[in-house]
Amino acid sequence: MQPDIMTTRLRTIMAHSQSFYTQSVSLRVNGSATKLNVDTRVTLLDALRNELGLTGTKKGCDHGQCGACTVLLNGRRIKSCMTLAVMHDGQSVTTVEGLGQDKRLRKLQAAFVKHDAFQCGFCTPGQLMSAAGLLNEVEKPTADQIRELMSGNICRCGAYPHIVAAILETVS
């Protein structure tokens, strides 16, 4: 049994890695295919920010509590600080950079501007991505549902009422 086990293990490691602790991972980020060689410890968040230069996604607590790092993974909102880049080979990530452009804001982004749904703006990319994910989960959320479903995104400036108003506008 032992030689068989070694084969399985070595085959899996050798197929993807330059060394024991570095692996290659292919991601589709905002529609573009990209291939990275990363330390196994690198979170998806750090890969986006440090390897790909996509600094729109913010690092707040780095412990899954604040929501500033929210991105869409295969269309579902997740916290990119609480998952490793190497776990997402072949998967698709959307960051705030992929949500809209300066001159062509998404409806959601325009609603955040209209309702002044931020103060310092640090949490805003996470709020936007979380809201985008929420709207994929619930078609027409009520204000109460929005408050509950956005509880994974903290805003220290306390822009919550405006954030709820902005999201509500996009579903009305």
Binding site: D39, G64, L84, G133
Partner: protein
Amino acid sequence: MPMRRLSAHCRSDSRNCVVVMQPFSYLRPTTQNDAFAALKLEPAAAVIAGGTDLLDLMKLGVTAPSQLIDINGLPLAGIELTGQSVMIGALAHMSDVAHDARIVKGFPVLSQALLASASGQLRNVATVGGNLMQRTRCPYFRDNTFPCNKRNPGSGCSAIDGFNRGSAILGTSSKCIAVHPSDMAVALVALSADVVLASRSGTRRVAVEDFYLLPGDTPQNETVLEPGELIVAVEVPASPEAKRSVYLKVRDRASFEFALVSVAAAVKMKGSIITSARFAVGGVAPRPWRTLGAETVLAGKPANVKNFAAAAAAALAGATTSRLNAFKVTLAQNAIKRALALATGVAGP
């Protein structure tokens, strides 16, 4: 690789930023046999599914596996309903289970417990198996600078004379008073669910309640999971009680918070008489706390506040409180009364 490229836990002072995840190798087996082989070869490996708790603990330096075995390539995410039960794969995401129409209809307590857990982003990633395996939120367990018998056996328990507002009041020992944090497990215990474990030598089932060990003298041993074993599924029997069930969670804020106390209640009624009742209490013990004696108090009795109170008193019998958590006895009793009122449809407290 420069340290600054890695996630580090810096606290408020970045100059003392020393905790960095230890290096680990990474494997993604695509068959259960490969996963078992990897587990056997690398005893210090950890299995990762959603990773929402494990990576947190690795960043904190509480755990440092030499290898991560990513089981997301295994086909274990299905939810299958037969006439008698629902089989939920270990890799089913919390959000998928919570929103599954068959779960919402046949096992509402399970859906409610899942939706009362964590946040939307975490529920999209966290899995059923990982939820069962999540570690306690006791602040001393999650902080390397304090003694903790669970993290470092023999070092002492900081909670017993420390900040123990969230600590357990039932099933504790002089070595550990940590609470199991899962909401889902509380619902599963009330529903008499089994966890299905697989290893190279086959599969076995354990009642979710028996899956967890009480701390005794060895709080570092938390479950009956053997080395080389994987959780592959949870099986929940269908029943009239499961259909008429509720989850009540009491916490310090309305959302995205662990329970101070929670109750999963499931009842079967004939008119206004309770023919059978089951309930489990969360937030009070090292595992979901179910007391058969407290349930028999209700069997054959009218659903009313007096009988609910008798059952609640029986469930909390033997509670041992610490300096800051004596309130949990009353809170748990009130939560039981209210959950039973909600499940039976009686106007309650």
